[in-house]
């Protein structure tokens, strides 16, 4: 098993992506290791969401190759590929006409699990993401934003995928709920050791959750650093992020002082 542990779970090989003649990004080389949380950090339009969607083939690269568990995604069965990858997006995308239970159970259900097994799994997942089990019968519109996002995470975990793709999963939440969910997700990840790719524009979130941070700017991968390295980095883009982040804290403190 040790030999497979060394090989990356997700690998970008010289990938470029163009849409309607404009280059979104080019020459992307990136590896995601088993059990790590790789954060794609960058501002809007930097290509981080595109990068994420290339993994589960919601988008296809113009050139280059993406491999998941060593297999080029272009050659794998797209439906099986996606069922093996949990996907969480900012708008959650819960099915409004399904109860929480049916939402969480959808992938197991289409994969043909027995009803009883799905039910047990749903209850287990609700507990895992810190929700009361009586929420199972509710509809998404009856939930708070934080609860909805938890259900989104539970749904992505339903069929126990090895990989989790998260596109600004906590972006639409109020700061307190966001903090709570980030902390819980961190603890969850310590137990589950999924291979996670998480997109965010929030440095704080990146530092909090990432094993490594991949900084993207205008379709270019600037650098990949561990959180501590990131804070000390001399890279102009990275230090610009750290400065903006520090300024925010400082000016808030100054306002308090005056």
């Amino acid at each position: 098993m040790h030999s497979t542990d060394a090989s990356p779970v997700i690998e970008f090989r010289d990938v470029s992506y163009r849409v309607a003649g404009t280059q979104v990004f080019s020459g992307l080389n990136l590896q995601v290791q088993r059990g790590e949380t790789l954060v794609l950090l960058g501002r809007s339009g930097s290509g981080k969401t595109t990068t994420l969607k290339l993994v589960n083939r919601l988008l296809s690269p113009t050139t280059g190759e993406i491999r998941v568990k060593g297999v080029p995604v272009a050659q794998s069965d797209v439906i099986q590929l996606r069922r093996g990858i949990g996907y969480v997006i900012q708008d959650v995308g819960l099915f409004p006409h399904f109860t929480v239970e049916r939402n969480i159970g959808i992938v197991p259900r289409i994969a043909g699990w027995a009803e009883e097994r799905i039910r047990v799994r749903v209850l287990e997942l609700l507990q895992l993401v810190g929700l009361a089990t009586d929420i199972a019968e509710r509809y998404p519109h009856q939930l708070s934003g934080g609860q909805r996002q938890r259900v989104g995470v539970a749904r992505a975990l339903a069929a126990d995928p090895e990989i989790l793709l998260m596109d600004e999963p906590f972006g639409a939440l109020d700061p307190l709920t966001r903090y709570e969910l980030q902390r819980e997700f961190f603890l969850l990840q310590q137990r589950l050791h999924k291979t996670v790719v998480l997109v965010t524009h929030d440095l704080r979130e990146a530092l909090r959750l990432g094993s490594r941070i991949a900084l993207m700017e205008a379709g270019r991968l600037v650098t990949v650093l561990e959180p501590e390295q990131f804070l000390r980095s001399s890279d102009p883009m990275a230090s610009a992020y750290v400065r903006a982040f520090g300024d925010g804290l400082e000016s808030a403190a100054n306002r308090g002082a005056s």
């Binding site: 439906i79 996606r82 069922r83 996907y87 995308g93 099915f95 289409i110 989104g152």
Partner: protein, 210 residues
């Protein structure tokens, strides 16, 4: 009150013509739904088809009904029986609201929901069956509802080419300059339209996702 007496006296004929009317409307709406809903889905998924299809359905809608019945009269198999012809014409008119509402309904499904479904590995047909159609069903049915109500009215004109239905009374009444006879056709037709509207409306609410 003369009208009521006339209807009661001729109740068997009123009933027959009402059933005939219902048949024309029912068959044509069913055919229009069988064509229009898949077509609406197709153009919602393939944007380039959307303009030509909706434009064609729009053009059909602008042809005056009497003229359309007239145009179709010389067509070989169709012209043999007036009801075939009437059903074809009514189907054509019912297409636009059904296609347009199906298109609008499917396009109106939250893109995040569709993307989440696709991202977690639903096939395109599962996505359609379990997500898009259930979420679009009330918009689609309100298109069917409009189509039915239009058809009930239009079907009265089918009597002009001998296809029967409640229009028989209306045309006969016009020829005889007898309001009672006109109303004996118009009143049941109005009731039919209202009943159909309520019926499909009820179905719409029943199938509405929460």
């Amino acid at each position: 009150m003369n009208v009521i007496r006339f209807i009661v006296q001729n109740h068997q004929q009123v009933l027959d013509l009402t059933l005939e009317h219902l048949w024309l409307v029912g068959v044509s709406t069913l055919v229009a739904a069988l064509i229009g809903i898949p077509l609406g889905i197709a153009i919602a998924h393939r944007q380039w088809l959307n303009k030509p299809v909706l434009a064609s359905a729009n053009i059909i809608q602008t042809i005056p009904s009497l003229a359309l019945f007239g145009f179709l009269l010389p067509v070989p198999w169709l012209g043999e029986r007036a009801d075939r012809l009437a059903i074809l014409a009514l189907t054509l008119y019912a297409l636009l609201p059904i296609i347009r509402n199906t298109y609008t309904g499917i396009r109106g499904v939250d893109p995040a929901v569709v993307e989440a479904g696709r991202g977690m590995g639903l096939t395109e047909s599962q996505l359609l069956l379990h997500v898009e159609l259930p979420l679009a069903v009330s918009v689609i049915l309100s298109g069917v509802r409009v189509a039915v109500v239009i058809s009930v009215g239009l079907a009265t004109i089918a009597a002009a080419i001998g296809a029967g239905g409640l229009g028989e009374f209306i045309f006969r009444g016009l020829a005889m300059v007898d309001d009672r006879v006109i109303l004996a056709g118009a009143i049941p037709a109005a009731i039919l339209a209202l009943a159909a509207d309520l019926g499909v409306g009820w179905l719409e609410r029943r199938l509405q996702p929460r």
